[in-house]
Symmetry: C2
Subunit: 552 residues, 2 copies
Amino acid sequence: MPNGAQALMKTLVDAGVEVCFSNPGTSEMHFVAALDSEPRMRAVLALFEGVATGAADGYARMADKPAATLLHLGCGLGNGLANLHNARKGKVPVVNIVGDHATYHTQYDAQLQSDIETVARNVSPGFVRTSTSTAELCRDAVDAIAAARGYPGQVATLILPADVSWGEGAVACTALPAPNPAVADDAAVAAAVAAVRSGRKVALLLGGRALRETDLLAAARIAAHSGVKLLADVFPTRMQRGAGLPAVERIAYMAEMAGVQLAEIEELILVDSKAPVSFFAYPGKQSYLVPDGCNVLTLASPAQDTTASLEKLVAALGAGQAQPQLQSAQRPGRPRGKLTAAKVCKAVGHLLPDNSILVDEAITSGLMLAAMTAGAPRHDLITLTGGAIGQGLPNAIGAAIACPDRPVLALIGDGTAMYTIQSLWTMAREQLNVTSIIFNNASYSVLNVELERVGAQEAGPKAKSQLDLHGPVLNFAQLAQGMGVHSVRVSSAEDLVTAMQYALAHPGPHLIEAVVPESLSGAKRKILPWLLRAMPNLPQSVASALKRKLAP
Amino acid sequence: MPNGAQALMKTLVDAGVEVCFSNPGTSEMHFVAALDSEPRMRAVLALFEGVATGAADGYARMADKPAATLLHLGCGLGNGLANLHNARKGKVPVVNIVGDHATYHTQYDAQLQSDIETVARNVSPGFVRTSTSTAELCRDAVDAIAAARGYPGQVATLILPADVSWGEGAVACTALPAPNPAVADDAAVAAAVAAVRSGRKVALLLGGRALRETDLLAAARIAAHSGVKLLADVFPTRMQRGAGLPAVERIAYMAEMAGVQLAEIEELILVDSKAPVSFFAYPGKQSYLVPDGCNVLTLASPAQDTTASLEKLVAALGAGQAQPQLQSAQRPGRPRGKLTAAKVCKAVGHLLPDNSILVDEAITSGLMLAAMTAGAPRHDLITLTGGAIGQGLPNAIGAAIACPDRPVLALIGDGTAMYTIQSLWTMAREQLNVTSIIFNNASYSVLNVELERVGAQEAGPKAKSQLDLHGPVLNFAQLAQGMGVHSVRVSSAEDLVTAMQYALAHPGPHLIEAVVPESLSGAKRKILPWLLRAMPNLPQSVASALKRKLAP
């Protein structure tokens, strides 16, 4: 008879959970020892739990099935919380295995004792369970996996006391049935049809699973047939885009812009999404971004099958034969001269390989990325779903493990990179095909913008120093080398292009540190042209409205 | 009238909270803007929240008053949780200011929305409050500060919605009265006196605040007068030691050893401590380490004044004129040859400056540290109170800010260093007088020991790889340089001594990477001589018992 950990290992892989991103401690030693009992389980060590959880998130986004994490009690879970938050907000399946003290040991309140369930509820409100017997452990694990990979996907946390893990007499559970989500019912489809045919301005807002090719094509057929506008969530979990796919405009991060995008919409149809709200609140500004008088209706909730629901709407509208408008192939030219963040985005658009995975956590430096890569070869885009920075590098690890044959490009701000910089070591250890481009502008640049936006006037030197990463300026090329990742620091567009060409031609991890000025330095008036350039297809009327709105 | 943030700033400094370790985001921008309204508040930026919380912990251990942290919503708090856990277990006062969305914004469940109070309860069970009005904010802050700096010290979390921060009409609160903890009552003192005079073997177990000079001297008078044994918590929050102070034996980390230390004790008197338990549970081994038949009694709980309570016991015993036994001054010689972890500890003992602060998170590599520094000039020792690794470097930041005139030495394992490696940047930015010595043995060495101890036999290659930090080996000297910290990598004792002498002669941060073999490689039989050497004053009978117990 296997012990608990061995049976759990078999149960996990039988259910398709074949990768474990781990940062173990003593209470997880039996789980670690059991790794060798199950050749199908791949264990990937991280030096910090936020790397493990973010990698599990990135893996699931690309593999469409959960990985496990292995975390050390409440503190390990705490360290992993921010990226689990991002997974939760992205509706991404993750199975946390959190080791705990032996059940009989908790009464002594030893040093590492804390209330794990309390912490876990923050990120896995739908499933937190402490397994209390070896005999029931695999049943608990199956429930956790089922919860994680349901519709919507979620983070499930299984707390595994050490004695439950080392106990004998466990029985592995057999595989789970695949989830079988519901399709939009007739009433929802009829309501959507009525909205589309109402003569009012209609938009389909796509999120979650509705940003993959099949769904996008269905939505684009509806758009071509009925003149409906297509919008995407501001921070998509995973979005397929590029030449040959329908181009969908993302809701802008800045509420002022999002308000403009939505200003004329009278019927907003949600597909695995929610009515747009401002990322943060600002004094005197609206949090809810849907215009007054706009009717919001749901075609498919996150609990439903978006593909089948969209196809049902296509059929109901008679749009099956409509020709979807597809993005034409077009790349920007090769950038030249002193490097700027926009030129980095241009270089990415110039060189992005076919079928690559683009991880965008570049914050202000990435403003031009969407425009510059719109007509690049088709690729998957992964973004910061929960706003907890430090997601990008770990996501890149997971994406590279899920898709070993696809190049991964991670575009990361300097501030964000430092939260989970330990990711580089795992990239080196696993020899992952990831090229990380770090925008080093020596600033929490977005916070300089936010400082103005919240109306905190006349910031003094102490305030400004809190947003400033000078003194000393980080050297990411050195940090990468210290963790075994090949790296180079560039400050001209020519050197960047050379470095990218080298990295893309030589598999294995690379880091390119792009030394750039701040994209959004100066006052609000300088933001406007940037915003407009970031959305080149904005209709003139919208651009004018935006100019009026943002004028000082 | 000031806004909420400005009044809060004044309230904090009026109550002695004069340093804020911060990692802000948009929802904290008004707090950041208010920094310039209060010249007495020092703001120290961290690139990761675990650095901020660990620095606040280290600061309070040395300053004997809380610092504030400034954290960004639930995810920022999550990132800071592990070091707040260590503070909680160390009974260290910390005031968390956790920014939140504006009160009216939470209903929209925006990207960064999560249940902050849920997370906060894990580390601040005694005080979590969301301030809901600007008018009441400073009252809430005063309550938080009072909770933090009470007896016992604790982590208090004040959640600060953005609109409460930016709202007008706040009123700063005046300073708090100092806490006034109770003294051991007559019954407790009489019980302790009876125990001491019982003729049974008695030990005083000192923890928390009872490991400072005045308390140690009182305890040592009792020991000299009555033959009582003195013991200290396994992981002291802060312990004053070295030449001229009473030497107190710490309870060992390993339960096998602790059991031997406690084996003959029949009366255990607690002073701001608790009855010893095993750090982890192990199959077939006891969790509760107090021997059967030993009577446990409390002289002073963590809620009481240990100094006055010990003095009361001294008086009751008539021990006031007893001469406490004090540690004589003695340093080990200069180490030579190929570097080992023990030689690093020897070099520290050889060179430790008077009045320094020693932060010990060296795990297995630090086994010889206590023995090697026992007779060094007097110093404060800070250890890993909660077992959540990644504490040492942040603690060193806080200690250096609390005590700018004292040299800080941080001895850190390679695995542990990586959890909060971003600390180095803050050390450089603030030009702190910290010398960090990283033991690079390319291993989670303690876990190799634990893997055996938990009885997980026959570890295979996958299991072992989870504890192995080779491939690639980290280069901490490069990591330090990438964050602006002067660094050197050494592998001989001579080079180490030279590097330490240079670092100690030149203020400002330094990092010395000590490349060493694992201290505890090989099987259990090799552990024994190490353990014995780490406790040179062990009586022969105890050493023999230990040998029998640990024999294979």
